[in-house]
């Protein structure tokens, strides 16, 4: 028995080591680009460049494209209008990347030193090891990660000052203490990958441990209903927020919504209901299982929703009283900066973190035992392929690279703080795909 277990451990270690070597070797381009890797949103180069950043803490200098994908629109068609070199800030000048997560007077002031935090990925959709890696990285960077809708594993409790508790329509794993622990509580009304459809955990991933956490039945598919059955109006929504604030008066409240045509009205309603953060999740992101029809066709991409919300809140005179966090297709430091220029305060990362941890975006998260890289799986053997400390280091190095790139962008735009970039769409330039100047003037060129 002991020998068998030792063998199993040896097998896991063998593959873990080989994978780690692979994550280092592929970005060197010694083997070229993997021919079957990547897609328009995440071309192979971007995946390898993210691996490189997670490995080294800096962007690649061997020509790997690390700023944009090739989707032909949105962030991939936007670039920055940098100042002439003589007007840019010197490299020695400090540039501030801090953003506040609350702008309402009287409530708890929380700032994060980088304008992003980790998005909700539930226990069940990802392994506990992944949740732990993200929480460790969040603590190191004094930012946050989110539980997603799958409960709050005990192992996360030591990191609770950096963990957002998500309450979604299925209320899976939501307990009074998990709300009391949380500095931020996130209501998930909808998510970009499946707007208007609710969450979906396939039966194969609802293991005994996952079911226990969610207080459900093992091996039975779990659908989060859509929408909250207790919310049919902004007034009902306020009731939700009051309920959380009664349980935890210090908590900030984030409201995660998707991007319908009236997203501006949704944002205003959320603000008046008392939300501190409006988290807008565009249609092109998402890490979990989603019907293909929903991913591509329902609700608008984040790039098009942000300016609408930003302008409308500004017209209403409340833009400086609420924080907008953007997600749903934020892949790179460039994307973060562009989202902020389009009107967000900061961004929420999901897929990017998984890619840093080794995701190849093969899309087989829901097949059989789950992710073969040990990321989006609850398989006891596969999930051991990711050691939480190793994962946290990779995420930390990715964050470091992103922060350095963001500072560089700000310097070249002549801005001393990321907060000055918010809503500065005039600092962007639209380049038609195929334009010879495309991204030519961006950071890292030359």
């Amino acid at each position: 028995m002991l020998t068998r277990r030792a063998s199993e451990q040896s097998i896991i270690r063998k593959h873990e080591e080989a994978l780690h070597q692979g994550y280092q070797r592929w970005p060197t381009l010694d083997f070229g680009l993997p021919p079957a890797m990547g897609d328009d949103r995440w071309p192979a180069e971007l995946i390898l460049a993210t691996w490189f950043q997670a490995e080294t803490g800096r962007p690649p200098a061997n020509g790997l494209e690390y700023r944009v994908g090739r989707s032909g629109g949105g962030f991939d068609a936007l670039d920055f209008r940098f100042l002439p070199p003589e007007q840019q800030l010197a490299a020695s000048e400090p540039v501030d990347t801090v953003i506040p997560l609350n702008r309402r007077p009287g409530d708890r002031a929380i700032e994060i030193p980088i304008p992003w935090y980790g998005g909700g990925m539930s226990f069940g959709s990802v392994s506990e090891q992944i949740m732990l890696a993200r929480a460790k990285a969040a603590r190191e960077w004094r930012t946050f990660t989110s539980t997603g809708e799958g409960g709050y594993p005990e192992s996360l409790v030591p990191y609770r000052d950096h963990v957002i508790t998500q309450i979604a329509t299925g209320m899976f794993g939501v307990r009074e203490e998990t709300i009391q622990w949380a500095p931020i509580v996130e209501f998930k009304y909808a998510q970009g990958a499946k707007p208007g459809l609710g969450g979906h955990l396939l039966g194969d991933k609802a293991t005994v441990a996952v079911a226990r956490m969610r207080e459900s039945v093992p091996w039975v598919s779990l659908f989060s209903p859509f929408p909250f059955h207790s919310v049919y109006s902004v007034e009902d929504h306020k009731k939700h927020i009051d309920w959380v604030r009664t349980i935890n008066p210090d908590a900030l409240v984030s409201v995660k919504v998707s991007t319908p045509t009236d997203i501006d009205m949704v944002a205003v309603g959320s603000y008046y209901a008392g939300a501190h953060i409006i988290h807008i999740d565009g249609g092109y992101g998402g890490t979990g299982a989603a019907p293909e029809i929903a991913k591509k066709n329902i609700a608008m991409p984040i790039e098009l929703a942000l300016p609408r919300v930003h302008r409308f809140l500004a017209q209403e005179g409340i833009r400086d009283e609420v924080v907008i966090m953007a997600s749903g297709g934020i892949r790179t430091a460039n994307d973060i900066a562009k989202a902020i220029a389009l009107g967000a305060d900061g961004c929420v990362l999901g897929t990017t973190e998984l890619v840093a941890l080794g995701c190849t975006r093969c899309g087989n998260c829901e097949r059989g035992r789950g992710c073969p890289f040990g990321l989006t799986t609850t398989d006891p053997e596969l999930s051991q392929l990711v050691d939480p400390d190793w994962g946290a280091e990779r995420l930390s190095r990715l964050y470091a690279s992103f922060q350095a790139q963001l500072r560089d962008i700000l310097r070249r735009l002549g801005l001393r703080s990321v907060r000055e970039l918010r809503g500065r769409a005039d600092l962007l330039v639209y380049r038609k795909p195929g334009d010879p100047d495309e991204q030519a003037d961006s950071i890292g060129s030359g």
Partner: protein, 467 residues
């Protein structure tokens, strides 16, 4: 005491059953293993792990590609899902390539990814579900430049999709006068509504001349009957192959007009190629109880057709969704809007075909203004048809089928219809609509890429609305 009578209500559902592909597809990926390097790796590991065979022989693939006794020396390519774990771990030993044979499936409009999706739907009847977000282009021409809306908090909910509430996908095809008139006794006078209610907003269009085999037409009509929709069949073939019944719509044209006299059963609907007042009058005289449908090019003036008496109009485009250089999306909107502006939209049923090849195209076409769509190439791909070159012109397209087995073919089409209906329910549920009839022409519940970009990038230098 009298026992309750058995309720007659039967909730509509399409029975799905696995219907595996008849023709084996080329695998999605090619697995190229450098055998000498693999042997060298195994030898190295034998030493490193001190001949601990379970460790040495443990393979990176969790899908069984290397599960033969000789592992990577003879990979099972058909099991490869392209996760790339093997090549990530051992880049010098194994490479995974997209299979170029697979890339050749379909044509320039209905590409290999569409073929994959359609085959999955026809095989399983399920909604395609995948992880890791969207992976395609940002937007694009045609249907890709349009997104449907969702609602954060309204009912009906997703529960509707899973059985606790009901979302209707039924549509009415037929003649509907704007107003009913009544005589002094309160009895209706004048034209009365004459409609067929279909449980799904899609019909089956007739196949191109190159593929009008008896067996295919039998499959189409039988599947249409079991789904409770309609299949269009050239009248001469309907008569020769003895295809009759409530789901068969004979299509009659100039060349086949003479066959009309041999039609010995009463179709619920009959379609006329083109618009010809005399022929329409003749159809009305001979088949007064049937619904008469005019099959005309998509750019036709539907208002003028209405004035001349048409009440059901089938707007047609080529299989790539084009007519005279314009895409069907614009042409449908134009036709719908013209009728709305004239205040007569409710009096006409608009059916459209051409370029509707994926599940999402159905709600999008309905939003643009159709009452129902007629499916073409997607059906044939579900039956594992192959196109010879571009499958574009309905008269000359060359489509070949494998040897079709009727029960298999019917099940494939039922599976496809079930999957598309479920996807339609997802879209309706996300919007908070209880019935697909309410989706027609709801342009306020969709978003156009061009309009959103114009608004979002107004302050962005270099953005040109016409770009």
């Amino acid at each position: 005491m009298v026992a309750d009578r058995q309720p007659r209500y039967r909730r509509y559902r399409i029975e799905i059953r696995p219907a595996p592909d008849l023709v084996r597809l080329p695998p999605r990926f090619r697995v190229e293993v450098k055998k000498h390097r693999l042997i060298s790796l195994v030898l190295k590991e034998l030493i490193h792990y001190r001949a601990n065979l379970p460790v040495v022989l443990s393979r990176p693939c969790v899908y069984g590609v290397f599960s033969r006794p000789i592992g990577g020396l003879a990979p099972k390519e058909e099991l490869c899902v392209g996760c790339l774990r093997c090549t990530v771990q051992y880049p010098e030993v194994v490479q995974i390539y997209p299979n170029p044979e697979r890339e050749r499936l379909g044509d320039s409009y209905l590409g290999p990814a569409c073929v994959d999706t359609l085959l999955y739907e026809a095989r399983t009847g399920h909604v395609p579900v995948r992880g890791a977000g969207y992976r395609g282009p940002f937007g694009g021409a045609g249907w890709d430049g349009m997104w449907t809306d969702m609602s954060e908090i309204v009912r009906p909910t997703r529960d509707g999709i899973h059985g606790r509430e009901f979302i209707s996908t039924a549509v009415d095809i037929g003649e509907k006068p704007a107003l009913l008139a009544f005589d002094e006794q309160g009895q209706p006078v004048g034209t009365l509504p004459k409609v067929i209610t279909l449980q799904v907003p899609f019909l089956f269009d007739r196949p191109p001349p190159s593929a009008r085999s008896r067996r295919l037409l039998e499959i189409l009509t039988r599947a249409a009957r079991e789904i409770d929709t309609l299949a269009m069949v050239p009248i001469d073939l309907a008569i020769r192959f003895e295809l009759a019944g409530p789901s068969v719509v004979p299509v009659v044209g100039e060349e086949t007009w003479r066959w009309l006299g041999q039609l010995n059963w009463l179709p619920r609907m009959i379609a006329l190629e083109g618009w010809d007042r005399e022929r329409v009058a003749e159809l009305r005289r001979r088949l007064p109880e049937s619904i008469h449908c005019a099959r005309v090019p998509m750019e036709s003036d539907v208002l003028e057709l209405l004035r001349q008496g048409a009440r059901v109009v089938h707007l047609t485009a080529d299989y790539h969704g084009r007519r005279n250089g314009r895409f069907v999306m614009d042409l449908i909107r134009q036709a719908h809007q013209r009728l709305v502006d004239a205040g007569v939209r409710e009096e006409v049923t608009l059916i459209g075909s051409g370029g509707i090849v994926m599940a999402e195209h159905v709600p999008k076409a309905i939003i643009c203004g159709l009452d129902a769509v007629a499916l073409d190439t997607a059906l044939w791909v579900a039956l594992q048809a192959r196109f010879a070159g571009e499958c574009r012109d309905p008269e000359t397209a060359l489509v070949s089928f494998p040897r079709l087995e009727p029960a298999w073919g019917v099940q494939r089409l039922k599976n496809l219809a079930a999957s598309w209906r479920d996807q339609l329910l997802e879209v309706l549920g996300a919007m908070g609509l209880r019935e697909v009839r309410r989706l027609r022409g709801e342009l306020g519940r969709c978003m156009w890429q061009a309009e959103l970009e114009r608004e979002a990038f107004a302050e962005v230098a270099g953005y040109c609305a016409d770009a």
